[in-house]
Symmetry: C2
Subunit: 197 residues, 2 copies
Amino acid sequence: MSPLTTKPIYFGSFLVTSQVFHLTPLTFCLVNLKPLLPGHVLVSPLRAAPRLRDLTPAEAADLFVTVRRVGRTLERVYGASALNVAVQDGADAGQSVPHVHAHIIPRRADDLGAPREGGGPDKVYDLLEGEDGDVGRLLRERDEGTGGRKGKFPAVDADEEREPRSEEEMRREAEWLAEEMKKDEEVEGEEKEAKGG
Amino acid sequence: MSPLTTKPIYFGSFLVTSQVFHLTPLTFCLVNLKPLLPGHVLVSPLRAAPRLRDLTPAEAADLFVTVRRVGRTLERVYGASALNVAVQDGADAGQSVPHVHAHIIPRRADDLGAPREGGGPDKVYDLLEGEDGDVGRLLRERDEGTGGRKGKFPAVDADEEREPRSEEEMRREAEWLAEEMKKDEEVEGEEKEAKGG
């Protein structure tokens, strides 16, 4: 069960209800089985539209307003200073689940090493193009029980030992993020009131 | 002069009026000095907000509705089958101009080589993290007249000879894209009318 809903929520063909930490009338947000960096989440329309062009203007607007709102909370609770936002829109752009999704990845200075050591801000793209950036393969392996470390993880050697997270671990993170999202919404509401808006 | 406006339009501190091919009340779209792939453009809020969190909900919504609309036209006119959309939100995420911008990059099957030859859809990230993904540096060099090929271009050897494009070339592309955007808007209008909407 999700902290937010008793209805099943699907990402493509995958049941992800326990991973969902934020819901709007059109959009849901889920924590990842194997985040590329701490706080790496996905934001998707509730309707399983495969491509951006399939979204209604209202769905596209709500998706990005939600990206902005979730990004702000992620940045605060993960002590980040920046965010990468990426949409792979179609298989030829690297999309692995035919259901629109924006990756949000919180970033900190030198979190992937210093540029002079071959790291730097853009090193995140090596992760997105690696095996663990393939969210479809990871969810498929979980559901089929065929998971396991078949290949090597690129670029971040220290993380090579990571295993996919348990349902319980993801649910706890989802519950925590849901609480933290509420705090920012309350602050936003109070600010609006103070302005007489 | 732009095909769309006589008012100067700035991207960060850079005057880019002649590169602008689409305008909404809140958002503008510009063609690139050195596109990473044909049809690579940027979508930005007219107000020079540095970070996503600085956008109003209306600006965030309009930005992404515009990304969706522009993406559809780009995909058609460049014969693409997919799109990469990426926002580097903050310096620690690789942002080079402190003015929110979404990259849209049209993609085709094997446009960056086949996966078995070391290419594939995600090869685009190598380009974004390369020198020519640094839109700030390129615009700075243009304005200072210090441009030139100081480094090598990664990953796409065939493109190593590319030079930054002339104002005239960018204006022609901007004018062409502005016309093509209008065609899709007309079709959309007719579809709405046919539905009685």
